[in-house]
Amino acid sequence: MAANNESSAAVYELPLPAGPPAAAGEADGHARLPETLLLKNVLWFCHLRWAVVAILGTFGLLGLFPQVLAHVGLRPTADWPLVAAGILVAGNLAFSGHARLLKESGVPRYAHINLWGQIVFDLVVLTGVVHYAGSLETNITFAYLFHIVLACIFLSGTESLAVTLIACVLYMAVLAAEDAGLVAPQTLFAGAPPRLPIAAEPWIPIWNLALALFIWLAVWYLTSHLAAMVRARDEELGETNRRLEAALEERSRHMLRTTHELKAPFAAIHATTQLLLDGQCGPLPDEARAFVQRISTRCRRLANEIQEMVQLANLRSESQGTLPHAALDVAEILRGCIGQVKPLAEERKVIIEADLAQARTVGVEEHLKMLFANLLGNAVGYSYEGGRVRVRCRPGEGGGPEVVIEDHGIGIPADKLPRVFDEYYRTDEAVRHNKQSSGLGLAIVRHVAEEHGIRIRVESCPGAGTTFHLRLAVEREPSEPDSENKENHDGLRADCR
């Protein structure tokens, strides 16, 4: 609907939702790794280079004992391994220092440049080593493959191809320089025959070179293709995870909003009926008063039922693995929940006595709040007027918190105890005593207990009261659930004393 105005009309166009993110299979995986991950690889690359320095250094030191090398068919190495090791040490210190600076700055946007610098630096040093070790006489040219493979993993397909081509160019350059006499061909092997000029027997070096280049390019193609597939899969999983997290958050918000929208009208009806019942809008005839009382009671019960139905539906649809487990102080949670049921306790003139010692566990905070709020609400709701509810919390023998919630209310008959955790189950006595309950509170407790491996034992005697004993998991990393509680996942027990 647009409002017309003589000077200008206000226009509003409903924005379409943003297009869906890349669906499964659409992620191409050709992008390089994110900078934060690249920075980790940069540091790892530097660590790896120390191993190469150690190998070259050891080989250089062996060169001090020519007779040892001659014994295994090698020529004296002169100084080149030590010089190469020295250059690598200097380069490695510079690259790792730069990487640490990037890490400390928290802005690793130059990690990519650092990595490229390291690759080019390594390829140049490697070309020197290839020359001295024997560019045609040894298989050392395969060392270029390390860099080609690593480039395929760290960089995009195009960049890794560039690394492959640089390696090809450097290798061809060293062969050309040796053939042109700019540098004399070298070899590690004492018994190697002198190299003939390429012009004398061109096909052997040409095929050797072609074979090496073909192998490098084949390795580049296979590795970059596999790396792209892995990266694409990784992107898909990351996207799926982001969507799941967003959906979880959205559902929680939606549930809050739905509950609010459903409960708020009942709150208004309840408050209005109270004004009428309290005579604050004038006296009501007895019959009218009785009907308003019915409205008030049903209204409150409906509000409670809506809340618990939404809550239970939410619990059912959640899987434990998706929820944030945290280290929690059960005493602190109980304090909050006691505050929550305080208005109901005041209304029913029930006194809550709390004896709470710090006891830590691991779990989903909101779910544990639900569990305790429901148990405390029941204890107050099924107490007699003026009764007492005792809440105790202590670290148990095994270290996990032990909680006891005890009331002196109507109690539960022995034959009905095993059913109290069923959805919508209420004993006749409970229905008569507390019309507000939906029969879902203990079903919610059961769901949370099963999810957290909480053992619950119920003791009850009709007319004397009910005691819930809870044993929670000891505080550990969320990935290591308490083994005993894990074994007793269905650890809900109902006893009658």
Binding site: M255, L256, H260, H270, A271, Q274, G339, E347
Partner: protein, 133 residues
Amino acid sequence: MAYVLIVDDDEDFAAAAAKALAIAGHEVRVELDTASATKSMDARRPDLIILDVMFPENASAGFELARFIKHEKPGLKDVPILMLTAVNVKFPLGFGTGDADDVWMPVSDFIEKPVDLNVLQKRVAALLRAAAK
């Protein structure tokens, strides 16, 4: 007699709560959104604010207003805030008395809807007494 400002988008509930507090001897003003509540507070400093959490314009507008009052309005910093809401600690993202703190939920007390009007009158009286000390 105290001047109590009720900020709640539910007009029916606000009217009933205002009536109950008026009967208890307080002067009451109702504002149905947080923007008009801010103007009202600037015009006259309330002795106590009763504040809902969720408003149509923003699901956490009540929290934001409470933080604004406590952190941005030096003249209103000491006014007690009684928070009312239909969602509670039993829900994921829900909250209760134990969650009140100066940063996230800077309120003096918290009541869940549906609220007993007698309880509301008592809590208001207790908060006013504490504020007067």
